[in-house]
Amino acid sequence: MRTLRILRHAAWVLVALLGLAALAATLGWFPGDGPASRRPVPFAAPSIGGPFAMRDAAGVAVGERDLVGRPSLLFFGFTHCPDICPTAMSDIAGWMKELGPQADSLQVFFVTVDPERDRPAELAAYAAMFDPRIRPLVGTEAELAAMAKAWRVYYRRVPLSGGGYTMDHTATIYLVGRDGRFSGTIDPREGGESTLAKLRRLLAAT
């Protein structure tokens, strides 16, 4: 509970800092960007998304540019995850089935937060079990850390008493528009109807 409270306070401090930074940027307080050169700054809501450099199970490089052109779903998980990941993955597969041929224009990525254990072969077999159109992504620890930071994904290794470890991780599903920009999220416990509506909107948006 204490940790939670500390976390909550830390989160608020972060929010306050981001708010100040946004204000500072808008008012042109930063040096080198003198008040005269007030370029319009896009609304500085804490942005989600950004550059990343990962590979799919076949070793093909995948980065932020591959998100442009087609709407995408991103889900971060790991194959040694017994509960939330198979649930979310089968939900995603179910939505794809429900969307029918429309789903073919959707890119779905499963990003592993456990690159140490999730080798490409395991990832390929895992993703294919749910829907062969789901493309797994893997990077080095550093590449994963960079992507997680850009996408505000939390992941942490938790040792198990009997040896080995499990991962705590963000289980939110990210929606990305065909412009390559973050456009929303799906909570893994959300109802199917609301989710399908979101996905149809995502697919319909230009």
Binding site: T79, H80, C81, P82, D83, I84, P86, T87, M89, S90, D91, A93, G94, W95, K97, E98, A121, E122, A125, Y126, A128, M129, F130, Y154, V158, L160, S161, G162, G164, T166, D168, H169, T170, A171, T172, T185, D187, P188, R189, G191, G192, E193, T195, L196
Partner: protein, 183 residues
Amino acid sequence: MTNRPGLGRIAAALLATAFLSTTFLAAGMQPARAHDYTQGDLRIGHPWTRATAPTAKVGAGYMTIANRGGVPDRLVSASTDAAGRVEIHEMSMEAGVMRMRELAGGLPLPAGADVALKPGGYHLMLMDLRAPLKQGASIPVMLVFERAGRVQVELKVEPPGGPAGGAHGHGHGAGSRAPGHNH
């Protein structure tokens, strides 16, 4: 010579009969419905697990455990030949983050309460699987309770998405995935 195939068929029929009677006998020994178990004050309902990928090393076991007695009990441990070890875990979601913790002291079963092991909550974590779990199979698991003692149950291997088989627009909080909600 000519009646050899006939003999084979008779043997096959006999074998089938023997097999079926054993199955019926075994089924007959279950006091409750097909896939429920009773031991002392505990009723264990439909233990199940999901089919795993060919390379998977972990699986999760789910069931309901009702304690009809007046005394609390506790699921202390579980084991199976199908996995190197089994742990009792609790999953929680907060602010979009999934966390999984081992219940070091086991799973408490308060008197008169129904405790569900289900996706999004408690589960048995089967670690170091010796072979992938194949849909349709049954995985024998030994459960050890503090008071009720040892109970052998079988986890039915359901599709990878669980009995609900993925989302089909039925608001699926963790609960609606419970067995019996097949559509």
